[in-house]
């Protein structure tokens, strides 16, 4: 991306922003938050088919658009900005990416085209009740039975897990531990032995579910026991997308708080004229812009480039974590400041600031908090 976006990418962003402004005003966000499934079928179709977003980073061979993580990141940044309620992160960012990284050729051809058109909504189930985001936290067992596998155990914090039509599940060979013996499996959402329950989420723009598996028949994706590395890559890519989504939300909050400060009067002047408000606003700009730079750089690294478009495939793991840690703190701090700048009205249900505040809170821990990612980043750091 050469530290700047191409004209095409900028135009793409404008199109998306218009779409989101139109389809995801906060009145819609609030309506969908209250629903069990948490998205609008019609908007999902428009987004997947008219805009082709569902297939954006899926290669053309598998029915997608064949763009990269930079374009995918632009899309999620705009979605994060508008708090779009849609199964995009679960189906496209998580499930499609996991399939791309793990499945064999025939499986990709069988599974991806329907995901790329939005006709099938999928998700990735890897976290369990212990809430760990790393491979080592997986306890669910996959037992070979005849030609297929049976899954037993529990997955939790599964994004859109209660509505996904297909589920990619991370499980392990009985007796294995850590990175060893892990495989990804494909399961249908209505499979026998699968019990799904939506969890009450603090941030209702992000629906989560707990899934119990009892002898659920599953199809192995790719090689048995070989999921640890592709799974880690999937998470690096997803974390990169999440960081981009988060900076979109943070920037929206920052702008709204500034607008409010410019028009709210106290003591016969706008509150924006108080130096403390100016400094706060300037600090918010610094937080958000630094986090944006990290998120954009990580997106470029996910496409195998450095910031200037040169080849650099090696530093994604470290910079993905760097970007997530940065975005996590920037988004939350921006949300805290934004409420403070609004004063009493910022603490009300009807004021929209709280929607982003809660999204910032859930994003802060989703796929690992800043402390976790700072540690990962240093483990992976290369001078």
């Amino acid at each position: 991306m050469s530290f700047s976006f191409t004209d095409e990418q900028t135009e793409f962003r404008h199109v998306l922003r218009r779409f989101m402004t139109d389809k995801s005003p906060t009145s819609e966000v609030r309506r969908l938050m209250e629903t069990e499934e948490g998205f609008d079928e019609k908007v999902w179709r428009q987004l997947s088919q008219n805009l082709g977003l569902a297939g954006i980073h899926i290669p053309e061979d598998y029915g997608g658009q064949g763009f990269g993580f930079v374009e995918l990141s632009i899309a999620v940044e705009e979605m994060g900005r508008a708090l779009l309620c849609a199964p995009f992160f679960s189906s496209i960012v998580l499930a499609a990416t996991a399939i791309l990284n793990t499945a064999d050729e025939a499986q990709k051809r069988a599974l991806l085209p329907a995901i790329a058109t939005g006709d099938v909504r999928a998700t990735l189930a890897f976290t369990e009740d212990n809430g760990r985001w790393d491979n080592g936290g997986v306890a669910m067992e996959a037992t070979a039975v005849g030609g297929s596998y049976q899954l037993n155990g529990v997955k939790s914090f599964v994004l859109d897990g209660h509505t996904a039509e297909q589920i990619v599940v991370l499980a392990r060979r009985p007796g294995s531990s850590g990175d060893g013996g892990l495989s990804l499996f494909h399961v249908l959402g209505d499979a026998d032995g699968l019990t799904r329950r939506r969890l009450k989420s603090m941030d209702d723009t992000r629906k989560l579910a707990r899934l119990e598996f009892e002898n659920v028949t599953a199809e192995l994706l790719g090689a048995e026991g070989g999921a640890a590395v592709p799974m880690a890559t999937t998470l690096d890519q997803a974390v990169t997308c999440l960081a981009n989504e988060m900076v979109g939300g943070a920037e929206a909050l920052r702008e709204q708080a500034l607008d409010y400060a410019q028009m709210r009067m106290q003591f016969g002047r706008t509150i924006a004229s108080f130096q403390t408000m100016k400094h706060k606003s300037a600090d918010m700009l610094i937080d958000v812009e630094l986090a944006k730079s990290a998120a954009y750089y990580a997106a470029s690294a996910a496409d195998g480039h450095d910031g200037d478009g040169g080849e650099n495939v090696s530093d994604l793991p470290a910079v993905a974590s760097l970007a997530k840690a940065s975005a996590g703190e920037a988004y939350m701090q921006t949300a805290i400041h934004a409420i403070q700048i609004h004063g009493g009205i910022g603490f009300t249900w009807d004021n929209d600031t709280q929607l982003w505040f809660k999204r910032a809170k859930s994003s802060e821990v989703f796929l690992g908090d800043a402390a976790y990612h700072r540690e990962l980043m240093l483990q992976r750091w290369q001078d």
Binding site: T127, G131, R132, W133, S156, F157, L199, K200, S201, M202, D203, R206, L208, M263, R264, M265, Q266, F267, G268, R269, F274, T276, M277, I336, I339, Q340, G343, G344, I345, G346, F347, T348, W349, D350, N351, Q354, F357, K358, K361, S362, E364, V365, F366, D369, A371, E375
Partner: protein, 421 residues
């Protein structure tokens, strides 16, 4: 009890122990017991002896409270802003106000609210535009207040209203006690970001106040409001404990439980907005993170901050006991509480991990943890924002120059202001 015994902590402790041994009876009705308490002076030891107190320095209050807790004796009603109303009435009210209101504040029979903030005037309280006009010997009130905690079940309100529009803003305000039960007062609950509704909007359309319910004179409103606000800031240092109720079977406990369950329900989140430092170690252990060095560092930082804030508040109280002037330690409690609450939120998030995304009975401690995460922002706004506290500290404590102002030198009607809320 002889009156000229030296006032020491040990003597006070012995006195209150003896009195409780002779009088505390959990089988009394709650109001009956609180009436006894009010008459004894032990309910509000720092109040004057002629008004339900003992005239003790406020530093002894915690000694008395400790002894109450030791035997499980219930105290006077303290919740909501009733204590701000009481302090204001004690300082500025007439004999009639004190007789009519103080006892029922302590027994919990009357609830109060504070009609100060308006859509257009929050930090700038002196910019209030609710009007009070004297017509045929009665004050007629028109206007709108907002963020009014407890208004939905209050009998009485402390009201700040404008009586003169042609003088500078601070000079045209007067202070009233408003009967909230009249039809001309309409209360609409406002839902907060944590889902509770402890505050309200209040619309007054030709509400009436008899002249004897004005507090002090015309134009004294700002001065009296300052008393109320000073008590509010002082109460914000986090030293005050919240009645949590017990499940003991006796009548007084039962009635206290009912009080907590019904009238107090909208305020269930109040302890959570302080950041619940008390739960941090227990939660870290339950989540298996108490040995994690990163988590330990954050917990230690939080405890350091919370303890230092508590000791600062105690220094301020101790100075009061000794009758010394409070130093700067007296002004920083509210700001320190904001810092503690924010850090408490962060540490609970760190400990909860993925669980921080959940709420209600899917989240830890039946939703208490989730409630912390979405309630702490209130602390740095309610009762005067952090920014306003910093202005007060820098200008009044540190003696830094005041901001030049263009809203105090002219008649209020000429001051620029928002037309919308």
């Amino acid at each position: 009890m002889t009156e000229n015994i030296e006032l020491t902590e040990a003597n006070v402790r012995a006195d209150v122990q003896a009195w409780l041994a002779a009088n505390w009876d959990a089988d009394l009705g709650l109001v009956e017991w609180r009436n006894i308490l009010a008459d004894s002076g032990w309910g509000m030891p720092a109040w004057p002896t002629e008004w339900f107190g003992k005239g003790y320095p406020s530093g002894f209050v915690s000694v008395v409270e400790e002894e109450f807790q030791r035997v499980g004796a219930i105290g006077v009603a303290r919740a909501g802003i009733r204590m701000l109303a009481a302090a204001t009435i004690l300082e500025h009210g007439t004999q009639m106000h004190k007789e009519k209101f103080l006892r029922r504040i302590l027994t919990g029979e009357d609830t109060w609210c504070q009609l100060f903030s308006e859509p257009g005037s929050g930090s700038d309280l002196a910019g209030a535009t609710t009007r009070a006009d004297l017509k045929d010997g009665t004050w007629i009130i028109n206007g709108q207040k907002v963020w009014t905690t407890s208004a939905h079940h209050a009998q009485w309100a402390l009201l700040l209203a404008r009586t003169d529009w042609d003088v500078p803003k601070h000079k045209g305000l007067s202070y009233f006690i408003l009967d909230m039960t009249q039809d001309a007062v309409e209360v609409q609950p406002l839902r907060q970001m944590n889902g509770h509704a402890s505050f309200n909007q209040v619309f007054m359309t030709d509400a009436e106040i008899a002249p004897e319910f004005q507090v002090e004179g015309l134009g004294d409103g700002w001065k009296i409001a300052t008393t109320t606000l000073m008590h509010e800031r002082r109460g914000a240092d986090g030293l005050r404990s919240w009645a949590m109720g017990t499940d003991r079977p006796e009548r007084a406990y039962r009635e206290e439980r009912e009080e907590l369950a019904h009238s107090m329900a909208p305020y269930k989140w109040y302890p959570q907005r302080m950041g619940r430092v008390d739960l941090v170690i227990e939660r870290a252990k339950a989540m298996g993170k108490y040995d994690d060095p990163v988590v330990r560092q954050e917990i230690a930082k939080l405890l350091t901050l919370a303890k230092s804030a508590e000791w600062t508040a105690r220094r301020a109280r101790a100075a009061q006991v000794l009758g010394r002037n409070q130093g700067p330690e007296g002004s920083i409690g509210k700001l320190a509480a904001s810092h503690v609450a924010r850090l408490g939120n962060q540490v609970h998030t760190l400990i909860s991990g993925a669980g921080a995304m959940l709420t209600g009975d899917d989240s830890a401690l039946d939703g208490v943890i989730a409630e912390i995460l979405v309630s702490t922002p209130a602390i740095s706004i309610a009762g005067g924002t952090d920014e306003i506290q910093r202005n007060i500290i820098s200008e009044r404590v540190l003696g830094m120059p005041k901001e030049p102002r263009n809203d105090t030198d002219r008649p209020f009607r000429d001051v620029p202001r928002n037309t919308i809320g």
